[in-house]
Symmetry: C3
């Protein structure tokens, strides 16, 4: 049934069409007011569930997860500030960024002075509304453009935040695609941001469509997709699934992949994990510029996956990193800031990464003493018929020479400066001729089906 | 009898004279039509045998050597193409490159169209005849200059290749110089090219005269010289001598060393073998520019020696590498393309390499706690009397400091940026004063005499 | 009593004042005629003993110390050369550099020609007197400016060197400050140079005031200060204290630190010892330019500490290295060549190095699975209140992430590119909150008190 390899599926994939679908998803999810808990998250996950069969988990407030405990649940119906004439000078219904995320309920009259203690703006970008949160400090507040802030006069203001903070749940989505092996690749994206497109509806859309594509492929690894609130979500999942963690052989946090910037790959804490080599190989073999940065304990959920007690081989794929574009965490990270083409390319890059991971085998040369005679096996005909025959012959020689059980195909691609696709193609033909045999002994894979 | 060390022999060697002898050898062997088997190889080896006492091996056609088998033997007496008027438009007697090497015998009349399917030219160099082979595909053909090709008119051509392809032998030469140790240094050169000077009569001449020089020296290592047809020759030798292979501690393939280009050293597959460090040290200490390239499984017989089942520490010394000069594998690789001076310098470089290998000892400082008092041993007089006294003193200090059994003299030369000769000289004087003792324990050398 | 940490002492130290004291010490010691033995050394050590409680050792001439033996003791009362009119053309009382150090006694009339065989000048710097020694070759001689040398006419000269060379002692000073651990840091400076300021009264003054500052601090390591004649002094100490050597975990030779050049750190022979990383971290974190050079067996007493039989982790801190400034070993290395400010900065740099050594702990994150919740421990208030709050938060995250028992705080500082002080401060606060525990198991420290 699922007998198609990912690389074959990719050949017939219409990435323009999927890019449009991804953008539509971003468009649909944009208005929802999400936070680390609450109905916004639930609504978002229900939307995703129509595309991929998510399992949705609800973890009760107060549950202890390592050093943390699940917070009380936040929901909000409305919020506004009215002047003494009854005009709404700030209105949550116009943008959910207007409310300090996790604001406690409030309903009172305040002076301009008191009001200002609860207002947040960005003076350098007077048209933009900032995005601010206060998850673990009880507070209320409003965010607004500095332009609007400067219009506020001395007055008596009616402040209303119709929110609830009650015992409830933290909600997250999980989807496991079972492959041949129980060894897992973790793909994690956060789902806790309200009306912000690049951070992180772009990651969400890319992850969903990546899952959708993988679900129809014949896969070696199992793939675990996590749709979780940032920080507390990954902490929660790790706490509840500590025993499964050893299965994770590679992983990727996906975020900020909808803008037009070049790709940025942040390496795992290990720094030389297979995923690091694979992503760098894919980015190098693309025609586009890219950047690789070392792990640092500041960023997205890789902070938790790469904490020293886990030290999982999980990297992070972004375009322009968080904090390095002025629109970050403001109302300017909107539907215009992300694009169909960027989203499609991000999906394609993720698929390329997974494809190389899937195909990154180690082989043992079955004829290791001297070169085998390629001619009498008709391999020179394969070479002659290849569009890039000179490099394809080199690829064969490199694969034969380095297939000593120590070098993976990605290693061989790096060493030879030949594209992974060429190396992999050469390896497959050589394996067909029984000149190579896949090296199984050294891996700790457990086949479960 | 053989009590002279190589470095002392080198001091009195007249390299100009030897360069002339080397060029004469190239000149004499140039007209012979060689291939991977046949009488051309035999004639060449008999010529060499007059200079160094080769053992000549004949391996029967059909003998299985790893994945290959010894091919049937090729010999050729004559070949030509005549036009309908009886004019020879292509004539093997003018250049043995005119015949596709290993052409099957043929005697027939053909049209221009059919003839052209069997002709090879180089349109970019219309005066040059290409060198082409078809060892493992039955075929016949002629190589000619593009200029002559364009003169061919519609006509009926008489094609004659008076060759034989019969059960016979693969012929190669071997010469072992026994040193103090059974540990071997392998020097390998191919002998299968017809009238081509740089590739590889230059390698042949250099290897022969290297062997001649080493044969009169007192040597630590044993030296095994192989004069073999490319690819099939090294495969054959390795297959017949699998048990001897572990004795090979260092090795060098010598080829394309007669042109005026700078030296290129291609490292072993191991990449950090002693021979790699030694050759790089020698090239660095020469005054000439040079290039070092990493191993790749494309090139000469190092491909076989460095196949993963052997992974021998064998590098390759060239000047301009194969394929990087336009004259490569054409009639322009002729007697003008190689020179006396280049040949002599190549021999000298090989001798320098062997000399450093021979002298690359590890010592143990016998007075490792603090510096010894050089003065009371008269060592400052040695220093004062040295033409480069400041560096000679530094060399003594470096040798004493790093002679911990871990650093060879080449390592010390690299670390100190002092020339190997100076380091080696310092070590000898210190050893004479019993301040150093050669480290034997760590090496796996077996003394046989 | 000694409960103040070095970093707290440093905060209240008046380095301008100490710089002046250091310069005074150089000024006072400048006129003394020192050598590797003799009363000049004794007088110098007695001077130092007034500042720090030195133990003064006297080792008899003839004592065998490894490959050497303690030489006979040299003392000198007077020396001059008089012309036939009785004018002193060279006078030891004007500069003790005028006498070849370790000159044998001599009293005779000589011709100009014979005299010249015993004269040393620097033609390139005609106003300067060179400094020359002849410890292990019996000789006598005078050093003078080339200008004065050229004024010498044919004449009969009376030569007088009123020196003694008799059985006596080699004298050196030692001062051990006991810390919490028996593990030692060695600080070594040579004391054998006569009227030369940078080489090495600057090192002497810096070492003395470093000892003085450390003596009032609460210290983790024990500190052993050696005031020794160059070469023979360190050989003597190592020979007499061979059993103590294994306690030395880090060390520094201090010399040539009074000139206005930038700092030069010469690494230990090991090349990656803790002291290497610490000094490079301190120099990087200063605002001044600096240079790091690899170990070489030429220089000061690090030659002996780093001889292969000891291979101690001892580096060398200098400003402009010996031999790289023209004033080196001449009368121009005088009281003008060194300065108060340079001396004070050198002391400060030494104290910074010791401080980082003292504080360079390894911790184990006690909450290694995911990040701990900093907020509920009030740590965000610490962060908010910090003058460099953004980097301080990063410092906390880095310390938590890398506190796996493998990374020291210096390692974390290097990896994060955050200043050591910030990293150390973050670690202390995290330790207070029991989020970190110092890693003791892996170190081989033995607590003795």
């Amino acid at each position: 049934m699922k007998n198609k390899r990912l690389k074959d599926i990719m050949k017939t994939t219409d990435f323009n069409k999927i890019g449009t679908e991804m953008y539509h998803m971003v468009f649909d999810l944009y208005p929802i007011c999400r936070s680390i808990t609450g109905d916004g998250v639930r609504e978002t996950l229900q939307y995703i569930k129509k595309i991929v069969p998510l399992e949705i988990h609800e973890i009760p407030s107060g549950t202890e997860v390592f050093d943390w405990s699940i917070p009380i649940e936040w929901n909000i119906r409305d919020a506004y500030v009215k002047d003494s004439k009854g005009n709404k000078v700030i209105d949550f219904r116009k943008s959910n960024l207007h409310v300090l995320n996790y604001s406690i309920p409030v309903q009172k009259k305040v002076s301009l002075q008191e009001l200002k203690e609860h207002l947040f703006t960005i003076p350098e970008h007077p048209d933009w509304i900032p995005y601010r949160t206060s998850y673990y400090n009880e507070n209320w507040g409003f965010c607004l453009s500095h332009k609007d802030y400067e219009k506020l006069n001395e007055d008596s203001y009616e402040v209303c935040i119709d929110s609830t903070l009650d015992k409830g749940h933290l909600t997250f989505g999980e989807y496991l695609i079972q492959g041949q092996l129980s060894d897992e690749v973790l793909i994690s994206t956060h789902i806790c941001h309200p009306s912000l497109c690049n951070d992180n509806l772009s990651g969400l859309a890319t992850t969903v469509f990546l899952a959708k594509q993988l679900s129809i492929a014949h896969l070696k690894y199992s793939y675990r997709f996590l749709f979780i609130p940032g920080t507390i979500g990954s902490i929660t999942w790790l706490s509840l699934n500590e025993k499964k963690v050893s299965k994770i052989k590679n992983g990727l946090v996906v975020s900020c992949v909808g803008d037009s910037g070049k790709f940025t790959y942040k390496k795992t804490r290990q720094g030389n994990a297979e995923i690091d080599n694979v992503v760098m190989n894919v980015l190098k073999n693309s025609e586009d510029d890219f950047k690789v940065i070392d792990f640092s304990p500041y960023g997205y959920d890789e902070r938790q996956y790469c904490s020293p007690g886990f030290n999982l081989p999980v990297g992070c794929l972004m375009r322009t990193p968080h904090g390095e574009y002025p629109e970050y965490h403001t109302s300017a990270d909107n539907l215009e800031f992300v694009g169909t083409k960027s989203l499609a390319e991000s999906l394609k890059t993720c698929l390329n990464i997974i494809n190389v991971l899937e195909e990154n085998k180690k082989y043992i040369n079955q004829n290791p003493k001297c070169e085998p005679q390629l001619g009498r096996r008709g391999l020179y005909q394969h070479i002659g018929g290849h569009p890039d025959s000179k490099n394809f012959q080199l690829a064969m020689l490199w694969v034969l020479n380095l297939s000593d059980g120590l070098h993976s195909l990605v290693d061989i691609s790096e060493r030879s400066s030949l594209k992974f696709g060429l190396i992999s193609e050469a390896a497959e033909i050589l394996a067909t001729e029984n000149l190579l045999k896949e090296s199984m002994g050294k891996s700790k894979h457990r086949v479960i089906t």
